[in-house]
Amino acid sequence: MGVVAVSLADEAALCRRYAPAVRTFWRRRLRGTEVDELTQETLLRFVQALRRGAITDPERMGGFVLGICRNLARERVRSAERRSELWAEFAGALASLADEPEVASYQLAQLEDCLSQMTQRSRDVIRHAFIDGHSSSQIGQRMGMSEGNVRVVRHRTLEALRTCMSQKVFWEAPS
């Protein structure tokens, strides 16, 4: 089985492709800036592995990235020195993680606009769950709701946001 050869552009595209899964993996375990730090470290190691020719089967690339995540999660003892070395050597590939400014602006406006159409309770549940990282139990205690009710509100709000965000922003001219 041969080595997977990739160009710089391919590396960038691969990092962009796996970044949401990597961020989601870390979000389950960490909060705040640590999520970004561990996402970067995961992808730096991924690029390093690509360049070393350590990935031989493109079909198993996702499993390889997941393996990096799990190894990092087990280690959790990271050397700041090693990270800075990785950064100096491979950081260029991560430039692709910055969203295209126009796309990012549009997506931000779309989420802001869709959130404004949810009730206060729905917005609060989403914020506590996915921004603050609180459990259903914690949210329920804070908002005077049962855990089950928190889940129902969360699910309904996610569905409503997904529908809203699949459409054009309200303020745009209809096509």
């Binding site: 802001e112 989403i126 769950a129 996610l158 309200f170 303020w171």
Partner: protein
């Protein structure tokens, strides 16, 4: 369970370790999954909105003062008393825009703001907007949304009570300057 609910349960710690491991395999096997990208957007952009205080569109005046004190460029738009008026020309350097709707009611904590775009024949409701103690709604939004909103032509905003009757408290009919 749909993929969206599985990811929701994963992120909120409601899957057991075996289920979480299986979902991780699926997640990294299909990193372009639309539900994964959707939840990633909610978390990333939501964190940005929460940091700026724009997760909720209605804010107390004190929050705006805090943004200004922190060095942000905040453009204030006061269309005056209810009635006809002109909308806003967005400043080039504005990071945030605050639309002030003086409803003159400090006995109400929240209102719904129904927006009607006349040119597009479209209506939406901004729900549960905070009314500050001075009887003014301070609608705070980020520049990208403000750019779209103030470029949408004639806009009629009905401020309504949030109770069952949903009476109109005040109306602004704004045309581009």
């Amino acid at each position: 369970m749909t993929r969206l609910y599985e990811l929701d349960a994963y992120l909120t710690g409601e899957l057991n370790e075996g289920e979480a491991d299986a979902l991780e395999e699926a997640m990294f096997g299909a990193p372009d999954d639309p539900d994964l990208l959707f939840l990633d957007r909610i978390a990333r952009h939501g964190a940005q909105l929460a940091e700026h205080g724009t997760f909720d569109i209605g804010v107390p005046r004190a929050h705006i003062d805090t943004l200004v004190a922190a060095g942000h460029k905040v453009q204030m738009f006061d269309p005056g008393p209810p009635g006809k008026g002109h909308s806003l020309i967005l400043d080039d350097d504005a990071e945030f825009v605050v639309t002030m709707l003086a409803i003159g009611r400090n006995d109400i904590e929240r209102v719904d703001v129904e927006i009607n775009l006349i040119d597009y024949n479209a209506t939406k409701t901004i729900k549960d907007v905070t009314v500050d103690r001075d009887g003014i709604v301070y609608g705070l939004c980020e520049r990208p949304l403000a750019k779209l909103a103030f470029g949408a032509g004639r806009t009629v905003a009905n401020v309504r009570r949030t109770d069952g009757a949903r009476d109109v408290i005040a109306t602004w009919d704004l045309t581009p300057p």
